[in-house]
Amino acid sequence: MQHSYPYKYQSSYARMFSFICCALVLSIFYGSCAKDYETIPLGQQQTLELTFDSHDSAGTYALRYLSEVYNDALINGHNRVDKDYLDAASDDALSSSTSLSSVEKIASGAFTSTDLNADDNWTSSYATIRAATVFIVNIDRVPLIEKLPDGRPARPAYKAEARFLRAFTYFGLIKRYGGVPLLGDKIYNLTDNLQLPRNSFKECVDYIVSELQLAEDSLRSQTEINSGSYGRITKEAAMALKAKVLLYSASPLFNGGNIDPNNPLTGYTSYDKQRWQLAADAAKAVIDLHYYSLMPSFTDVFTKQNQPVGTGTENIFWRQVGNNQDVEKTNGPIGYTSAGGNGRTSPSQNLVDAFPMQNGLDITAAGSSYNAADPYEGRDPRLTATVFFNDQPWLNRHIELFAGGTDRPGGTVQQTKTGYYMRKFMGDFSTSNSTVYSNTLHDWVYIRYAGILLDYAEAQNEVSGPSQQVYQVLYDLRQRAGIEPGDDGHYGIAQGMDQDEMRTAIHKERRIEMAFEQQRYWDIRRWKTAESVYSHPVRGMDIQRTGNGQLYYNVQDVFTPHFKAPQMYLYPIPYNEVVKDPAMKQNPGWK
């Protein structure tokens, strides 16, 4: 190699430079090897073992996990189905939406096993069931030292809460689909074969009831509930849910009216009156506790019981929601521009007509004093508490529901389709001078004492006909509602009814007492009356006002529902589940 001197001279600097550069690059290489990060991201370092920590006597993560099971299992029913109440898919109401709403699709039968209806909860239910099972299986590892107020250890209570929530979720499934696969306490993994068959309806009911009975003994009692624990599942809630499950299983759809008579998946294959007896007994057991009572004011039930502590409450099982203005803003009349109101729910004339007069008589009954030219005068006070009708006072003015009125202006704005807005669950702003809403408690009540009374009355009537206890339920409810007892103290209830007449009376009372509480939609199915209910159009009230303020009331048909009997009494199992699992039998009529 030949180099001239200057070149060498230069290159010694250059070599030094190159050495530095190499060192620099190598140091970068070294940097890559340095230990500076976790191998698992921080947010994912929590394992099953840590969640159910065998060293944590406070069970911090385990209890947080349980809270999330609550969150999954208990769904807020307010405007639940794609912003509508589920009962807007029954004959009690319509969605005011200008678009094609999910409840309208349900009511018109526009769903299939691939185009599922918006109330379908197959997948989410099994997610909840898994979450609950994980808790039930693992909680015993946690050395909880917490005690219930009565001195018993708290761990069995928490475990029983998860058990309850799982049973409640199964109940949600059997209402919709009939018998479904019961997974027990097994937690499935990727490698497991999940091609399970459905259990029979009977097995499902038995399982749910036995689970609730198992939970009952461990749960805390309503008497032990304090301001730190209200919202937790109680023993009484388990009893009440059991009553409800038994009532459903005793109902015609499953008990005697099985849509596929010899198919154990869709119901019992024969009628058994004993099931009504079980339902009545279970409801009676709750009544006989004497913990619960009807609150004096009907409207307060939904908005005032924000701390149902101890006995003497009406709410038995609810989802905690807290204080907000959601119900008012979503469903309130649209003319209150400062308060905000989107009038989402349009109660039907069918529902309004179901309310009796204040004297307890049906509007069609002789001597009811009902005046079709002034239809809202002298009605059951629950009507006022359930729907907005024309001229009702609200937020410092009177509601205008006549055509062209402030709250029914016409044009393209979302507004009532029936001439009514939903009022139930709202705070009482009828005498308010304010023009805006204030926060109101909006817990979603699943089971309340009034419902248990009605469950009892219904079951008892099936067992032994209209006994005095059955009548008494109706009197109690009507008394609380503010219906005049009348000279005879019968609150307008006809005497000497036979079993069928009493059944009709109970159904009717249930409809108006429990309107919008996710009862009607299921009731017409379990009573197997949906095919006749949906054969009538849903009606609304068109009110025309003349120049001099005279009002003319015209009832109109607003919507024609469709119900394909018998297949629509049960939901289709999602097609994807059926096609993936040969053992999974589809419900009758569905593909």
Binding site: P41, A110, D115, A131, G231
Partner: protein, 1095 residues
């Protein structure tokens, strides 16, 4: 001289029928130049002397001067001077590879400057082998200047540190150039000229139609930055942004870039490599880029290891040129115009048609006759407004302006380049003078690219490269995307722009005024900062080990993006006049005072290092190259754990006499997002080549064949796209939930814990591809005709998919698993013809690709009917119901099969009941649209005559479908804010009893209809249209002022130009733009003018 030559060649070409057929296309051009022969009229010898320069007026050495008989008269020296004696009247020709031939007619004694113009298609594109090349090894540098600089130039040309020796024509390989003659893979390149005349903010705009196999579909017409915040660094796992590509945030939201039909949304778009560094940077000015190359086959991308399936898009920015300083300055400005903006219904038509829709639905009409009249005659502009929002809030011709300054030069030991770029692009929203700040939609970008090359000594070269970029994006405070959505959906009669009292109009349904959103909503100013520093060192170990070399490369780059939220909101008012005539204003919406928020949207650090060493040796006719390679790429994004991709590779290549080629590589590659023990895999690729033109029987009998290379590669590649499917999906975990169920008085609820949303997939691994590519490169007629053809067959396996039996009973989501198999195959070809005569030069180049895809396995469950099956059809085949006309009569409505729960009416779509069970359901779903291959093509050409240049690019797609399912435009009156949304003129083609036979659309319906649109959540063939289109993507005209003028001004050259983007489009379905429709930002037509000065 050309005519007999060409005809002779044509005769030969007959034996090659394919070539002959193509040549016929070029025949006209050939005739054109063939006729331009000169007539010698005098025998007197005269002296011609002068200097040959380039456009910078810098001397060009090595220029060959030839006479008519192709006799070499002289070659210019390093100072560019020449002296020749020729017969008077004869033409002499100045030739240098990469430059257009210059013809000088010896009429009088000449003494002056001859300025050569760079060819539009530069030498790099010409796959020329070494001996045939008449170019010096380094075009612009004299060999005798300094020994070390020769090394440097070899480095720049990629010969040092790379096997293959010196060559003037290289292809951009993965991490440096590869001599074209031994390249065995499939590649396509677009070079600077092709890119720089695209008046657009990103180089991606210049790619559609240029590179065979690369499909570049535009999806958005303006850069809209992400303003999503990385939620706090807490343990709330659900919000950790997954770094889906493993490459950090991408600045590409305007294009869908697909290679050979691969779905870019599944992490299969090509890996972008900028100056040797993997970085997803697309928004670089086209004029700053020297070339863009796409590598398509297994062998040429195998060094990417676990990303090697994706192919690579190699972006090479401009390189330094040694010599005296060369300065180039370009200023240009353009007018943009949105294409295919929809035409809204006037308020009167809207009212009329909405009433019709409501009546069809059995609902009460919303408008009275008086309303209709008021809309029609405009008598009540406040109560019954009719606002065309497109005219109201959009301006016609927003501007785009670019400046670019480029300086390069160098002395004996070093060369440098500094490139400064500035871009200012306006969006289409109107602005207001009412504020001191700007609410305009606007993009400003400042870039600097500087490169320094040192020849430290004879053996050691060092390159330092620095790219910096600042982008300032401004948009109205309401947000561009939000405004575009509102623009699409707000009816003309929704509200007046302003009330009589000057306040913004609005209603309970429209609590935001569109004009207020554009002018009075403050602004969102987003800033992005990038810096890339790249150090490249190459050392020749010749003095110890002959032909050994070492290369080290390190890169650190940082990117951050943040935005200032200075948005605000004004309330809107509805004017109400009551019975007594009193006017009141109802307020809707709320006042939000101007925010002053600062948010970091992302911060990323990238880190790359590579080390390689190898030997290139020659013994006799044998040429051997061996190379060991290691690299590691680390990306750290926000608070994600870093992604680390590591490769250990060995490459070898051998050729005998540049005739027979063998090459192979193995790569042991690992990615840290897989579970330990599952991180590393072995990938391999190999290739064979045979240059038939080197065989004696060709050399001797068909010397017009310069290259005829058969080549093939096969390899196993990988795609580690696991991040697409979740963050550490192998890790079973529980996670915190911020707000859970409240117990007692704990409102809002406390923190909760839940099991992670998906089951862990501990066995997750990379997707694999087995890629075969067989190609042919040819170079004929002394480089006039060049072509390249490829057939590829890529079998993908272990594609991440949900298993078929993903049964919901398990209670958690199933993870993606390595299940699927798919086949991608097709043909690609490109052909270029270039020639010239006199001072007239031209070229024509075309490329085409035919792409098939097929699902081989997807764990599909039992399908009831053959037409329900997806397996065997193209990947992502659309399924749906076949629309078969409209219900015409009540009788038909009653008897025709329908979807459960829907009552047919006249004017509804009839769907085909394929299984004839009387019901339309999932069993009637069938493949919709085309199932055949898609054909992409591009044709570009250009010509230059003296200083005048013209060039164009036409790009098109055949056998493509377009699924227009824009319910606002096709259906109209969608339920919106508790009312009904906008409708467009298109729906006037709806079914009515009168138009029963000519209707395109079903009878109107308001508020959505689950039957005619989105039936069963499936597609309807009613909305499948022929998606074929042809675009004149680019056309440009430029004129370089004559040298005599510019020399007088003491400048090298002055070029003025005008060019256009998307000037003309033909689409089979002409209702929307074939690529973009609202609410995406529309595609822009740009007409651009500019000037370039070189010193």
């Amino acid at each position: 001289m050309h005519k007999p030559y060409l005809i002779k060649r044509l005769c030969h070409a007959r034996s090659l029928r394919v070539i002959a057929a193509i040549l016929c296309l070029l025949f006209c051009c050939a005739l054109l130049h063939a006729q331009q022969t000169t007539n010698a009229d005098s025998r007197a010898a005269i002296n011609l002397s002068g200097t040959v320069t380039d456009a910078y007026n810098k001397p060009l050495g090595g220029v060959k001067i030839l006479d008519k008989q192709e006799t070499l008269l002289a070659t210019t020296g390093s100072d560019g001077t020449f002296t020749v004696n020729v017969t008077k009247g004869e033409n002499i020709y100045f030739r240098l590879l990469g430059y257009d031939q210059f013809t000088l007619k010896a009429t009088t004694t000449f003494s002056g400057t001859v300025r050569l113009q760079q060819s539009f298609l530069p030498a790099a594109k010409m796959a020329v082998s070494e001996e045939q090349s008449n170019a010096p090894s380094s075009q612009l540098v004299e060999k005798d200047q300094d020994t070390s600089l020769v090394v440097l130039q070899e480095v720049l040309n990629g010969s040092a540190g790379y096997p293959g020796g010196k060559s003037g024509s290289d292809l951009q390989g993965l991490y440096g150039p590869i001599a074209a003659y031994r390249f065995l893979g499939a590649a396509a390149t677009a070079t600077q000229n092709e890119l720089s005349y695209t008046p657009a903010p990103q180089f991606t705009y210049a790619l559609p139609g240029r590179l065979a196999g690369l499909n570049v579909n535009q999806t958005e017409g303006f850069y809209i930055p992400s303003l999503t915040l990385p939620t706090s660094v807490d343990f709330f796992v659900g919000n950790i942004p997954t770094n889906k590509s493993g490459a950090g945030p991408s600045d590409n939201n305007q294009f869908d870039i697909q290679l050979r039909g691969h779905n870019s949304s599944l992490g299969q778009s090509p890996v972008v490599i900028i100056d040797g560094i993997q970085r997803d940077i697309y928004s670089l000015d086209p004029s700053q880029i020297a070339s863009v190359t796409i590598l398509k086959d297994a062998l040429s991308t195998i060094l990417l290891g676990q990303n090697s399936s994706r192919g690579a898009l190699i972006v090479q920015t401009l390189e330094p040129t040694s010599g005296p300083p060369r300065l180039s300055f370009t200023a240009e400005t353009g007018w943009q115009q949105s294409l295919k903006m929809p035409k809204p219904l006037s308020a009167a038509s809207y009212a009329y048609l909405l009433n019709e829709a409501l009546l069809n639905d059995g609902k009460n009409p919303a408008y009275t006759g008086a309303d209709y009249e008021a809309y029609k005659n405009g008598s009540d502009p406040y109560g019954h407004p009719d606002v065309n929002w497109y005219d109201a809030i959009l301006k016609n011709n927003p501007m785009i302006t670019r400046y670019n300054l480029n300086v390069t030069g160098g002395g004996g030991k070093a060369s440098y380049l500094v490139d400064l770029g500035y871009l200012n692009q306006d969006g289409m929203f109107k602005g207001s003078d009412a504020h001191t700040y700007s609410t305009l939609l606007n993009l400003k970008r400042y870039t600097v690219n500087s490169k320094i090359r040192f020849a430290v000594n004879k053996d050691f070269d060092l390159g330092l490269n620095l790219i910096g970029r600042i982008m300032d994006n401004n948009q109205p405070g309401a947000g561009t995307l939000n405004i575009l959505n509102n623009l699409l959906s707000t009816p003309n009669n929704a509200y007046p722009i302003y009330n009589p009292n000057g306040s913004f109009g609005g209603t309970t349904n429209y609590t935001n005024n569109l004009m207020a959103q554009v002018l009075e909503s403050g602004y969102l100013a987003e800033q992005e900062r990038d810096i890339l520093v790249n150090l490249d060192m190459r050392y020749k170990l010749d003095r110890w080990l002959p032909t050994w070399w070492v290369r080290l490369n390190g890169n650190v780059s940082v990117q951050s993006a943040s935005f200032m939220d200075r948005s605000k909101q004004d309330p809107v008012f509805q004017m109400v006049v009551d019975d007594k005539g009193d006017t009141t204003y109802n307020r809707f919406g709320s006042t939000v005072n101007q925010n002053n928020g600062f948010n970091t949207t992302s911060w990323a650090r990238y880190w790359y290092a590579s080390a390689s060493t190898g030997v290139d040796t020659t013994f006799g006719q044998n040429n051997l190259g061996l190379k060991l390679f290691y690299d590691q790429k680390q990306t750290l994004l926000n608070y994600d754990l870093p992604t680390v991709l590591t490769n250990y590779a060995f490459q070898g290549n051998y050729n005998y006499g540049k005739k027979y080629f063998v090459e192979g590589a193995v790569n042991y590659s690992g990615y840290n997002r897989y579970q330990k023990g599952h991180q590393y895999g072995l990938f391999y690729a190999g290739g064979l080549g045979w240059d038939i033109a080197r065989e004696n029987f060709i050399k001797d009998h068909a010397s017009w064949i310069g290259q005829l290379k058969l080549r093939g590669t096969y390899g196993k590649t990988g795609n580690a796209n696991v991040d697409q499917y979740g963050y550490y999906i192998w890790n079973e975990h529980f996670e915190n939930v911020n707000v859970t169920y409240p117990i007692g008085s704990q409102y809002p609820g406390p923190q909760g814990v839940q099991q992670g949303g998906t089951l862990p997939n501990v066995n997750a691994t990379w997707e694999k591809a087995y890629k075969l590519d067989i190609g042919l490169d040819m170079d004929l007629f002394n480089h006039h005709l060049q072509g390249s053809f490829d057939y590829y067959h890529e079998k993908y396996a272990d594609i991440m998919q949900l298993r078929g039996k993903s049964i919901a009973l398990i209670g958690l989501d199933y993870p993606a698993e390595n299940i699927g198999k798919a086949l991608y195959k097709g043909w690609e070809g490109s052909l270029t013809y270039q020639n010239g005569s006199g001072n007239f030069n031209y070229y024509l180049t075309g490329n085409a690709s035919l792409q098939y895809t097929k699902v081989l396995f997807m764990d599909e469950q039992q399908q009831a009917f053959s037409w329900n099956r997806h397996t065997g059809l193209p990947v992502n085949q659309r399924f749906g119901l076949i629309a078969d006309g409209f219900i015409q009569t009540e009788a038909e409505a009653e008897s025709y099969p329908t979807i459960t729960g829907y009552t047919l009416r006249v004017g509804d779509v009839k769907y085909k009941d394929l299984n004839s069970d009387g019901v339309i359901d999932q069993f009637d779903a069938t493949p919709l649209g085309k199932t055949g291959p898609i054909f992409y093509y591009g044709l570009s050409g250009g010509l230059s005559y003296k200083g005048l240049e013209l060039n164009f690019l036409i790009q098109g797609v055949q056998n493509r479908d377009i699924y227009v399912n824009n319910l606002i435009m096709d259906g109209g009156f969608q339920g919106q804010n508790g009312g009904y949304g906008q409708a467009y003129e298109r729906i006037q083609n709806r079914w009515t009893p009168e138009t029963a036979n000519t209707a395109f659309y079903p009878a109107l319906s308001a508020g959505g209809n689950g039957y005619n649109y989105n039936p069963l959540f499936l597609s309807s063939s009613l909305f499948v249209h022929n998606g074929d289109y042809i675009r004149l993507k680019n056309i440009g005209l430029a004129y370089t002022l004559p040298a005599v003028w510019t020399h007088r001004l003491k400048v090298g050259s002055v070029k003025v130009f005008v060019n256009a983007l998307n000037l003309w489009t033909w689409a089979a379905f002409d209702q929307v733009d074939p690529e973009i429709s609202l609410p995406n930002y529309p595609i822009q037509k740009v007409i651009n003018t500019g000037i370039n000065i070189k010193l």
